[in-house]
């Protein structure tokens, strides 16, 4: 225990910042997930899409397993359900609660980004929500973007900033992996080239949901193959939602934190570095052969382990 009165950040403050980062990112990603479901069901003969969205979200398992679950029930579960801690409403409510608890470590720009139009969502009923779904999905994405912008230009670059970023990056890595998994549930790749029509539409909607359509085009010159899409979302080091990018950044932020804290390194540093190494050495063809779904499940588990290793290391 340290007796000297060195200024350190309260663990609770770090925890609040970390989870604020995670919740904002989760609200954003959940909006994208719902949007993806919506796009997929626009095609004729779609049926299991909403349930695969429910399964991939990780927070609507009961609905995913229930063949009679309605689209509407799944949308409400992910958008408004007060009982579901990962619904967009709960994510933003949680982020606001985190923000309130650390009022002193937050800038007013960040608070305003969270607060804007919040009351409207609070009072929204299910019918309205479903009929105005695109508006609310856009709203959630805009809140997340405004928040990130406010952080970028107003938050001190100290340990608090790093904890916020760690939460954001970890959640983003996990949600990209989950989005990719939706496609796995819908249709396992059977052919080398993505076939026309329905299959094509589904793969591109994964890219759309991650905001990657243009970037993918730019990199891959328009060819859609399941593994190049998966490769892009998992391994591309330049795309900011790819798992590789997120883990590289997590590794970098953790190293910055070690520098700030007298060189102290913990298990979380090893986990992050290992994961970066693993992704760098990864070949997408091999990945498909050994099972993309298993790889995704594995990686999601690693993000969970990393998350608890971070809270252990910094006492929250």
């Amino acid at each position: 225990m340290c007796e000297a009165s060195v200024f350190a950040m309260l663990s609770r403050t770090a925890q609040n910042l970390y989870w604020m980062g995670r919740y904002i990112e989760r609200a954003d990603a959940t909006a994208r997930l719902i949007e993806m479901g919506r796009r997929m069901t626009m095609l004729p003969s779609a049926n299991a899409e909403w349930r695969s969205v429910a399964r991939a979200s990780g927070s609507a398992k009961a609905l995913a397993d229930d063949p009679k679950a309605s689209d509407r029930a799944i949308i409400i579960r992910l958008l408004l359900d007060a009982e579901n801690p990962s619904s967009i409403r709960c994510c933003i409510a949680q982020a606001r609660a985190n923000a309130k608890a650390i009022r002193t470590a937050l800038t007013s720009d960040m608070w305003e980004a969270l607060n804007d139009s919040w009351r409207l969502l609070e009072t929204l009923d299910a019918d309205e929500a479903v009929s105005e779904l695109p508006i609310w999905l856009d709203w959630a994405k805009q809140r997340a973007a405004a928040f990130r912008g406010a952080v970028e230009t107003s938050l001190l670059r100290n340990d608090g900033f790093i904890f916020l970023k760690l939460g954001e990056l970890l959640e983003r890595a996990e949600m990209t992996l989950r989005l990719l998994d939706v496609k796995y549930y819908v249709l396992l790749p059977e052919t080398d080239v993505v076939g026309g029509g329905r299959d094509f539409h589904q793969w591109t909607s994964v890219l759309r949901a991650t905001g990657a359509l243009r970037a993918y085009h730019h990199v891959n010159r328009g060819d859609y193959t399941p593994w190049s899409i998966a490769e892009f979302l998992v391994l591309n080091p330049m795309f900011p939602r790819s798992a590789a990018y997120c883990f590289t950044q997590i590794d970098r932020r953790l190293n910055e934190l070690a520098l700030l804290y007298d060189g102290q390194r913990f298990a979380c540093h090893d986990i992050a570095a290992n994961m970066v190494g693993r992704l760098e050495a990864c070949d997408i063809q091999v990945l498909f052969q050994s099972g993309l779904h298993e790889f995704i499940g594995d990686s999601i588990q690693i993000t969970n382990r990393l998350s608890s290793a971070i809270s252990n290391a910094y006492h929250f």
Binding site: M1, C2, A8, L10, A97
Partner: protein, 492 residues
């Protein structure tokens, strides 16, 4: 969190002002002959020159400023907006230099006597042996903490921040309505009201000599440093302990922590190990030496006080008693601001300080005493009856405003448990000019200065003036139209 009696911290705006009808009371600004009292000369001239229309416009600007700064208090469970603004009136309440000198000496005197009383009742109990304060009133009082007996808090200070609620009934007299020895709130409004006034009317401050109040946070910090525990080596680490964001005074807690540059902690941030108190940080546990706690005794330490409490830091009281950490205020300080004890404050001042009280008490009848009880029961319709242990505003009868049925219900309660009640006359409270819509009208005001007690006794020249915004109203409760004003003390 809100089990049992409401925590003391909720009482800021729950204290009703007692007063008679509006016309007969003392007017802070005008003399009986219609002239302007000396301290208000410049304010009166400013009000005339500015005009009511402009004042009204500036009032709207002031409110926008408050909202932007996020100066709100939390009210949960009542519906409506849980984050509310306290109405701010931009006409300052003014004390002349000599008025303040008297008031200030009186408040400091009271703060010293109350601390001396606390030391005494937790040690030899001289004042009880001398027959001045009845023993039973102290030892059988639920605010008395037997666990504190024989313990010497650092500097022998129990109440480090004493909020004295003062009303004025005539040009020469201040009367104390009650003392707050535990965790009086409202000081953030004192500071913010001044900040807003200085932003909006800089030219006014340039022409009127107003004593500054911005030293308060550093004086508070100095006070807390001065009571570092015996086991503390070097510069003490100070924290402000809050129940959390749901507390009505949370804004004030974070505001003060910010201004003092200390951590704002919740009970779960602290723990006791090896007899010392620590806070959890990202770099491991760090020693905590002084805790300015804005949390009730009952919720401090589940091991010592309330085993059913989810709040609290197990072992904290033991660490305190061992001299490893200081709690401000000391547990058990509430015995000094108990309403049954209030009656004896003038006697305390004579007994401990050998001085005559500078501030008067409001005349008080104790229902426990037969003769006084008879008087109370015969005059219920003219009196204010308060529950002895209730904190501000709870369990109270305001005779002149109560229905017959209510009075009769109270009569039964008093007869059943006379020792639980005291009664006071309805006071003729002073009033001050206040902007009501687009007109200036008189409204009742009271005043709470915040006296700091460490190695020295310090009093910032100012305080919180609360105003009952509803015409003729007795109550400054914010949910019933209560507001706040900036308070000016003119320099010599």
């Amino acid at each position: 969190m809100r089990q049992g009696r409401p925590p003391r911290t909720f009482s800021l705006f729950a204290l009703p002002i007692q007063c008679a009808s509006l016309p007969s009371m003392f007017d802070e600004m005008r003399t009986k002959e219609g002239g302007v009292r000396a301290p208000y000369e410049q304010i009166a001239a400013w009000l005339t020159a500015t005009g009511e229309k402009t004042l009204q416009r500036r009032q709207v600007e002031a409110e926008a400023l408050f909202r932007r700064l996020g100066i709100t208090f939390a009210v949960y469970g009542e519906g409506g907006d849980p984050e509310r603004l306290i109405p701010f009136d931009l006409v300052p309440r003014v004390f002349g230099a000599s008025e303040w000198r008297k008031l200030s000496r009186g408040v400091k005197q009271r703060a010293r006597a109350l601390n001396a009383f606390l030391y005494d009742v937790y040690h030899r109990g001289e004042i009880l042996k001398a027959g001045i304060v009845p023993e039973a009133l102290v030892y059988q009082n639920e605010a008395f903490l037997p666990e504190m007996v024989g313990f010497d808090p650092p500097g022998r200070v129990y109440s480090h921040i004493v909020g004295v609620d003062v009303v004025r009934t005539n040009p020469n007299e201040f009367q104390v309505l009650e003392d707050n020895c535990r965790t009086p709130s409202g000081v953030s409004y004192m500071l913010e009201n001044r900040e807003i006034m200085m932003r909006m009317f800089p030219q006014l401050f340039a022409s009127v000599g107003v004593e500054p109040i911005d030293e308060y946070p550093s004086q508070l910090k100095r006070t807390l440093q001065e009571v570092a525990p015996p086991l503390c080596r070097g510069e003490p680490t100070i924290v402000l302990l809050t129940p959390g964001p749901l507390n009505s005074a949370y804004y004030e807690h974070s505001f003060l922590a910010d201004l003092m540059g200390v951590e704002l902690v919740e009970p779960s941030d602290l723990f006791v190990e090896g007899g010392k108190c620590w806070m959890r940080t990202t770099q491991g546990p760090q020693r905590v030496d002084v805790i300015y706690r804005r949390i009730d005794d009952a919720y401090l330490d589940p091991l010592a006080f309330r085993p059913d409490s989810l709040l609290g830091v197990p072992g904290l009281f033991g660490a305190y008693r061992a001299g490893a950490v200081t709690l401000c205020s000391a547990p058990g300080a509430g015995i000094a601001d108990d309403k049954a004890i209030y009656v004896f404050t003038p006697e305390m001042i004579r007994f401990y300080l050998g001085e005559e009280p500078i501030l008067k008490n409001v005349e008080t009848w104790r229902c426990a005493i037969e003769g006084e009880r008879d008087h109370v029961l015969a005059n219920l319709k003219d009196l204010v009856v308060k529950q002895v242990h209730g904190s501000g505003g709870y369990g109270m009868l305001i005779g002149p405003h109560a229905a017959k049925k209510e009075i009769e219900a109270f009569r039964k309660k008093i007869i059943a448990e006379p020792e639980n009640y005291i009664a006071q006359p309805t006071l003729e409270l002073s009033s001050a000019p206040t902007l009501c819509g687009d007109a200036l009208e008189n409204r009742h005001v009271d005043f709470r200065p915040f006296c700091l007690v460490g190695k020295e006794v310090r009093l910032t020249p100012g305080g919180l003036t609360r105003v009952a915004l509803t015409k003729g109203s007795l109550v400054v409760n914010s949910s019933q139209g209560g507001g706040v004003k900036d308070t000016w003390v003119l320099s010599e």
